[in-house]
Symmetry: C2
Subunit: 215 residues, 2 copies
């Protein structure tokens, strides 16, 4: 077998895995984990069931692979959207915008990642916990940079992990709310969380609003 | 049968239902929904299995009843802790403290309400969604009072439901983080969320911290 043949054989596997995962995200988000059938994933992907099992394992493995891939894409989107040379508030703003833009253009992923897992539960809680830990660490790194740059006091600095957990929870919950209020523009929902996180209600009730143009 | 007899017969049912629910919360929080056995609930409650089925239904019904009761207690604790005549920030502070105090003294309830449901999922997502909606409405009522009192602008006022969803998510996520960091005092964890929600990171990085004594 020539080198070319091998390459030709290897390339389709990656392409097929992507097709399978794309199809699986769509099917899982539409029907939920328990109701989703491997027959439908096979049909949507245009890949035979035996090949799905060979490449990505059982339905449970496939769902876990979906969570891992989608979570990875989300983390990359957020981390890639933040420029560490920007002012702290702009870093947070870019991170939040990247998050909501990801949710807006990957609503199916978000449903699989978050809603389906919460309502289906079971063997995937580990994957989700790992994903949340990565998200919290990402936000923590951002907030710690902010804290170091601006000289946040010791007490506040110690608490950045806890506040990162709070902010991740706020983002998740607001994204869920947003799925039920799709008419709200991405920028608006991002600016609400930015104002809550950066300005706080104390400033908001005084009419002080954070806007990217003002900074 | 005399009136006294009837009353004697009715009272034990309420007492027994409470015993059953107390036992069920403990057993579910220790073993998770799927691993929990009705035998153990029966043993811990000191109530026979047939009586549990007669009073509270199947294991699924029993778990749903636990969620409803614990969610109700949590909402009462928060609503009861907030005095609408206080300054807006103090209202938020009292609400947050009540929430974290509830979690601190009802860790088993919180595990059942939140963690177990997320990891077990299934037929309880409706109960949990209903509970979250109540929590969001409660926070929304508080924030809307704040907004009305202090003249929050239209845009901000429209967004209170969304921000309430964000704040509820932040509280849930921080409470989960806290379960893994039990050495942090209740007041500290409450003050972190208060500072995030009221002051925002913008003030925190400048060293401006909200404390109840300063208000």
């Amino acid at each position: 077998m020539s080198v070319e043949d091998k390459r030709v054989k290897r390339l389709p596997r990656e392409v097929r895995e992507k097709q399978i995962l794309d199809a699986a995200v769509r099917v899982f988000s539409e029907h939920g984990y328990h109701e989703a059938s491997m027959d439908e994933v096979s049909e949507v992907a245009g890949v035979s069931k035996p090949m799905i099992y060979a490449y990505l394992g059982s339905k449970e493995d496939l769902f876990a692979a979906c969570i891992r891939r989608e979570a990875g894409l989300l983390m990359e989107a957020i981390a890639g959207g933040v420029d560490p040379d920007l002012a702290p508030d702009m870093q947070l703003w870019m991170g939040l915008r990247s998050f909501f833009e990801f949710v807006a253009s990957n609503k199916q992923s978000w449903r699989v990642l978050h809603r389906q897992v919460i309502s289906q539960g079971g063997p995937f809680s580990e994957e989700v916990l790992a994903m949340r830990t990565r998200a919290i660490n990402l936000v923590d790194a951002l907030l710690s940079r902010v804290a170091t740059k601006k000289g946040m006091d010791d007490h506040a600095q110690k608490s950045t992990e806890a506040m990162s957990a709070a902010l991740v929870g706020a983002g998740e919950s607001l994204a869920d709310w947003w799925l039920d209020h799709p008419a709200v523009p991405t920028r608006t929902v991002a600016s609400w969380l930015m104002n809550l996180a950066w300005m706080g209600f104390g400033d908001m009730v005084e009419g002080n609003v954070w806007t990217p143009s003002a900074h």
